[in-house]
């Protein structure tokens, strides 16, 4: 008649144990979008990386970034695979939800998104950036470009790339929001002429003969920040041990995926499951392994493919990465004034928590929380003067000029 789970003495012992450094919360709901760059979260949850830390991760597939936004704030999701810039938009109160203190726990990946143009554009000979720029200058209807969330990373890559080609992303073309899995349907219906999204939805469009890749996101910024593991700051403060355990489990999964080509390949097989991406392996695998085919007859192995770990460099929440997205919000008029870039980023990026998690797994932690990058238009970003950088672009939509 005495059953362990009914034993109140054991329950109260558990309540006491929760005061030590074990996780305060054992079962977590983790949101993800069906994208190749959700891999480390899926692997952590299904391949036994969380149990040793006393965690069970329940995966919750979502249908839109807006849904992830809302469910993180309502608490229906404890943490989620999130667009880097979306977390900053929530923090600053420009995501459509009330401003809420947010936390970036770690980076999930770098690279692996792309900008694609439609088959009708291709058949009229518009197969390059310069041909696109020429078309945009012609009189007639504006072209429609889709991204996945108004303040998302895909909007920022699309805007940055168009501007680098002399096209004003807000004035010269129309910008619309389409959730990733619906991109192909909108393309087929000719409602959009181009789009920026994560894999496998670009490779899918190419494979179906519905479009071609005109620029990869890594050609805009090699090893750019992309998805993060994020939650509200309240969650980190309420469950600090749980947050650290979660970061450790996902870090280990990230390292595992990149430990060998065989691991990477079997990860692609897991992703294609109907429970996760529900897309054929043949569509996921090539770009997941770094092999690109742009749909125009060009094939290459990308020197900056989708990276999940890169010895920790893909996971470290660089302050300069967080700040960059705010400079772009400022550039495109989403922010009317300069925020205190460094102060906001220091609050959002959970550097100390990440450092503790990475060190205990013997994963290298960069000494400098800023990094220096050169982007497609030749501009240098190193985090040293965010307000000046935000003002440095010829094409912009700031209200104060």
């Amino acid at each position: 008649m005495s059953d362990n789970s009914n034993d109140l003495a054991a329950l109260h012992a558990l309540a006491w144990v929760a005061g030590s450094d074990g996780p305060e919360k054992n079962e977590l709901n983790i949101g993800f979008m069906p994208l190749s760059d959700s891999a480390s979260v899926l692997v952590a949850a299904t391949q036994g990386f969380a149990q040793p830390y006393g965690l069970t991760l329940n995966l919750r597939r979502q249908t839109s970034w807006a849904g992830i936004n809302d469910k993180l704030l309502s608490g229906e999701l404890d943490a989620a695979h999130s667009l880097y810039s979306m977390i900053y938009a929530i923090q600053l109160g420009i995501s459509g939800a009330p401003a809420t203190d947010m936390a970036v726990l770690m980076g999930l990946n770098q690279n692996g998104q792309s900008i694609n143009l439609s088959q009708p554009l291709k058949s009229t000979g518009i197969t390059s950036a310069s041909a696109l720029e020429h078309r945009v200058r012609q009189p007639g209807d504006k072209l429609n470009f889709a991204q996945t969330f108004p303040t998302g990373t895909h909007a920022m890559w699309l805007y940055y790339w168009l501007a680098s080609q002399g096209i004003h992303p807000l004035w010269d073309v129309n910008s619309v929001v389409v959730p990733p899995p619906q991109m192909l349907a909108h393309l087929q219906a000719e409602r959009i002429d181009g789009f920026c999204v994560g894999e496998p939805w670009c490779a899918n469009a190419v494979a179906q003969g519905q479009g071609f890749t005109v620029a990869t996101s890594q050609s805009i910024w090699p090893d750019h920040p992309e998805k993060v593991l994020a939650c509200t700051r309240e969650f980190v403060e309420q469950y600090p041990n749980t947050a650290r355990a979660l970061v450790m489990a996902v870090l280990e999964a990230s390292r595992f995926i990149e430990a060998s080509q065989e691991n990477r390949r079997s990860t692609a097989q897991l992703l294609s499951s109907r429970d996760y991406l529900d897309v054929p392996l043949a569509t996921i695998e090539p770009r997941f392994m770094g092999d690109y085919d742009d749909g125009l007859g060009n094939q290459w192995h990308d020197p900056h493919p989708l990276r999940f770990h890169n010895h920790g460099a893909a996971n470290f929440p660089y302050l300069s990465d967080g700040m960059w997205f705010m400079t772009q919000f400022r550039r495109w008029g989403l922010l009317r004034e300069d925020p205190d870039y460094l102060a906001v980023t220091r609050q959002v990026q959970q550097l100390d928590l990440y450092r503790r998690a990475a060190s205990s797994l013997e994963i290298a932690v960069p000494a400098d929380p800023m990094r220096r990058s050169q982007l497609i238009d030749g501009s240098i970003w190193d985090g040293s003067d965010p307000a000046g950088y935000a003002r440095s672009f010829t094409l912009h939509a700031r209200h104060d000029q």
Partner: protein, 191 residues
């Protein structure tokens, strides 16, 4: 209004509690003796609280409480004449949220119900955490067992065994625990 399922396990005439409860503003939705399947009755009438009136909670009463806590958890309030602290401890351990040995006074019923509900809620959170931990622990043990078998079979080290199991699981779109169970089953077949 709180809906109460009243269980009468006394020789006293039915109704001594029902009157007090009605006076205090509670709704007694069902009343019965102990010769029922308590979890089934709870599922059928969906009370907010189960109130057990018993002279002395014996083994069969405790059995009912344990079954209900497992299958249809609800706050349980026990009114009894039994003063023995050992019996009280046993009752709490079985899942009783409030154990009341003094007589029934209508004006005391509301705070007793409030305490029972609060106590029940906090216990439920702990119970589900304990269950999650139990399951994590059980899964870990099975994975460890399978890993040990694989190390022997393949003559490999721990990390290699984990990697083999994970690759196998991912390429079949399964969880690690599923592959671990398959290895254990195969090992039982072959030895």
């Amino acid at each position: 209004m709180l809906r109460i399922l009243l269980i009468n396990d006394t020789s006293k005439k039915v109704g001594r509690l029902r009157t007090a409860l009605s006076e205090a503003g509670f709704e007694v939705i069902d009343e019965s003796g102990l010769t029922i399947d308590l979890p089934a009755r709870v599922e059928a009438v969906r009370p907010d609280v189960v109130l057990i009136d018993t002279e002395s909670p014996g083994r069969d009463v405790m059995e009912h409480v344990v079954m209900m806590t497992r299958d249809q958890p609800r706050p349980i309030v026990m009114f009894t004449d039994e003063h023995d602290p050992a019996v009280m401890r046993q009752a709490i351990k079985s899942g009783v949220s409030a154990y009341i040995v003094e007589g029934i006074h209508a004006q005391r019923l509301q705070p007793i119900m409030d305490v029972a509900m609060a106590r029940f809620e906090s216990d439920q959170v702990l119970r589900s955490q304990l269950q999650a931990r139990d399951q994590q622990l059980a899964e870990r043990k099975r994975v460890e067992l399978a890993k040990g078998m694989l190390m022997k079979m393949k003559n490999c080290n721990e990390e290699e065994a984990y990697t083999l199991m994970r690759r196998q699981a991912m390429s079949k779109q399964q969880k690690l625990i599923q592959v671990a169970e398959q290895i254990i089953a195969m090992n039982e077949l072959l030895t």
